[in-house]
Amino acid sequence: MTASNANDEGAGRALAWVEHLRSGGSTPWIDFRGTSSGSGRREVPGAAQLELARRLNAADPVADGVHRELVDRILSASVPGRGQLDLDLVGVPQASPFGAPPVDPADIAPDELIRVAVGALAEALVRLDPGAPRKRFAARLRHRLRHRRPWRRGLRLAGDPLAVAGVRAALARRGHITGRRRPVVVVLADDLGVMLADIWTNRLRNGRTAIWAGWLEKVERNDALPPALELPDVLERKAAEVGAANVHVVVGDPGAEIARLLGLRMPLEADPPRLPPDALEVVREVNAVLRVLVHPERHRRILHDLLLPRMADGPGIPRGVPAEREDWVRRQAERLRTRLSTAGYRVHGDLDDLLPREGGGAPAPSESRVLDVALRTLLKTKECM
């Protein structure tokens, strides 16, 4: 076989593999034996995009028009961030001896595939975003009147932000609208390690990109808890607003106590909207791309309306405190417990539960699981295409 024949054969095989993937195929490059007439390295996308498309096909073999559109978008995706550029397929003649060496797509590191997946996911979410809803004045007024029950007891929540979000969601599910009469403040507390993980999670839910270990290290270096977790200070401020008698601290599940305070018959099922660590890692990576794609307001809307609802398909476990931070977190929890026990506010639950539990929390995410979550989420964007 001449060199020219070998070149044509390699290019033809690559083009045929691209078509195979576009048609929903999932045969690995190394096992693929098809061929296509014509040549042109330029028409062959990067190896990372091709391998991601193959894995997407393997995860969902339904090769309809919508799936094909998704695969096409991945194949033409502009990969965000730093990493390897435009990898060529091994076995395909290179137009130039320069650039990164060609690769077998199966050998591409998961972090490179995550980069492609997250970029495609962020672009898909931006496309799916219908834009901010425009409410006319009359509609806004109607909404406000419909959601006003000034005679009902008011409820103000503080403390663990995910627990607060869980209570708000539970009240909304129950159709209960709080009012303005004799407002009561409930400060939601838990194991301090869990509350710190919830604060960090809440930051990711609002577009931030810090990694858990780095963020916690910074918190320790400042030797100060985030303001929302300085519970005695929060209580003091709230007491100044509504009176100390109307301020409560709930340690642990707040559902029963809040139902009692609001006069509801059944306890609330107030599960904090936590996500598995691998899903959170995808959110963090998507945030890094969305930050350069859209402005902050739209970014938050995309997260809350489009991404987070598509990720809540696994048990949400807060991240565990790394061993080197455990002592500091325990000391802070003991300080909180002492201050709260002498502050004179009404406490429901056991203040000892503020102390971090041994071996609690989820382990660090793994790249392969993060890639799986990114692929699953990418597939879910098909529903709206």
Binding site: P80, R82, L85, A95, S96, G119, T178, V289, R291, L293
Partner: protein
């Protein structure tokens, strides 16, 4: 009138790009009068557009880049004469990103020229390591060299390095859709060449030779010597966790590196060890041969890209002379003390202004009308209707606290 065309200067870093961009920025009004658009608000104004095009996170700055490339393309497309876009990190754009850039500039209907300024690899390698150190990294020179010599290029360091430095590959990505005569390689002259030579080559490429420009630039990206770079690396190791990027930029990169350590003279310069020199030399010859073959427009001399012989003594920045590092550290301490004194003065001035404002405010409180209003508010606060009235009044003024109920 100049013809409608777009000049895309896409790199490489450390080839006088800061100087060029500063001159273009300072003269942008004169250039516009001559039909040349350099659409920027600051000297490196196309940095954000580059971040946007490449979806590149950059220590939080990327949040300011949303839509920047499209806005830039819009300005360029609306201009009838010559437009210049210049940023060195564009060198690392992928094929897809290049396609997006060219499409946004109406390729092939618009005449587009790509310019790449290039310096010999033996000078670029240590310069890139130094850039890494100036961007908070802590890896040693030996490890850096090992990573960039890895043929697989899997690490972030090596993929970035080759992305912005491998001249034939950059031109392959940026120039493959253009006629070779519209791809221009500007070579950086060898050390010792007249200082104006590089500018002359840029001016020739950009078609600016007939415009009288103020070429006194305030910006440059000067290099440090071996002990100074070793010192900054040590500073990064101990201060990275406590000095956030927003403070690192003005305090370390600007004050310590650019204004202090780069100005020191007499230090050993960064270079390549013998093994690496031979490897880089072979590579440089291969690049030059490739460029001759491709038929690009070469502005300058491709021989500029062939490295000079290695010096006999290699000063290893991973094992610097401690006496020299200490001397550099003393300079740093002096500058930080001076900066601290300056900031103390600023603080004193601000404190004085605050006290004066507070005094003026207290004087206004002593007026009889204020005392009457205060009594009315206190009386109202004790009554149900009064609290309601105050609330309405505060809301009307937009002063109501945003307390959210569940």
């Amino acid at each position: 009138m100049r013809p409608k065309r777009v000049i895309l200067h896409v790199g490489t870093p450390k080839t006088g790009t800061s100087y060029l961009q500063d001159v273009l920025h300072r003269n942008k009004k004169d250039l516009a009068a001559e039909g040349v658009l350099y659409p920027v608000d600051r000297f490196d104004g196309h940095f954000l557009a580059a971040l946007d095009l490449m979806r590149l996170p950059w220590g939080g700055l990327e949040a300011e880049a949303v839509g920047a490339w499209d806005r830039l393309a819009e300005q360029v497309n609306a201009w009838d004469g010559t437009s210049i876009i210049s940023h060195e990190i564009l060198a690392t754009a992928s094929r897809e990103q290049v396609r997006r850039a060219l499409d946004s500039l109406n390729h092939p209907d618009t005449e587009i020229h790509v310019v790449l300024s290039a310096r010999d690899l033996v000078r670029q390698i240590p310069a890139e390591w130094q850039e890494n150190i100036k961007h908070r990294r802590t890896l040693g020179y030996g490890r850096f060299l090992k990573q960039i010599r890895d043929p697989q290029r899997k690490s972030r360091i090596s993929s970035w390095f080759w992305g912005v430095q491998e001249i034939p590959d950059i031109l392959d990505r940026w120039g493959s859709e253009l006629d070779p005569s519209r791809v221009h390689v500007v070579t950086v002259p060898k050390p010792g060449a007249p200082k104006t030579q590089l500018w002359d080559r840029f001016a020739d490429t950009f078609g600016l030779t007939d415009i009288d420009l103020d070429r006194h630039a305030e910006r440059a990206n000067p290099s440090m010597g071996v002990p100074e770079t070793a010192l900054v690396r040590r500073i990064n190791k101990i201060a990275n966790t406590s000095v956030e990027p927003a403070f690192y930029r003005p305090l370390v990169r600007e004050l310590l590196v650019h204004r202090t350590l780069s100005q020191r003279s007499g230090s050993s310069r960064l270079f390549l060890p013998t093994d690496e020199w031979e490897w880089a030399n072979d590579l440089s010859h291969a690049w030059v041969e490739e460029m001759e073959r491709r038929g690009y427009d070469i502005v300058g001399d491709l021989a500029d890209l062939i490295p000079d012989p290695a010096p006999e003594v290699f000063a290893n920045p991973d094992r610097p002379r401690e006496r020299k590092v200490n001397a550099a550290a003393l300079d740093v301490i002096r500058v930080l003390l001076e900066e601290n004194v300056r900031m103390q003065h600023v603080e004193d001035d601000l404190r004085r202004e605050r006290d004066e404002a507070r005094g003026a405010l207290e004087a206004s409180y002593l007026r009889p009308t204020y005392r009457i209003r205060k009594k009315v508010v206190h009386t109202a606060e004790d009554r149900f209707w009064g609290r309601g009235a105050i609330k309405v009044y505060r809301r009307a003024l937009g002063l109501d606290r945003n307390s959210r109920s569940a």
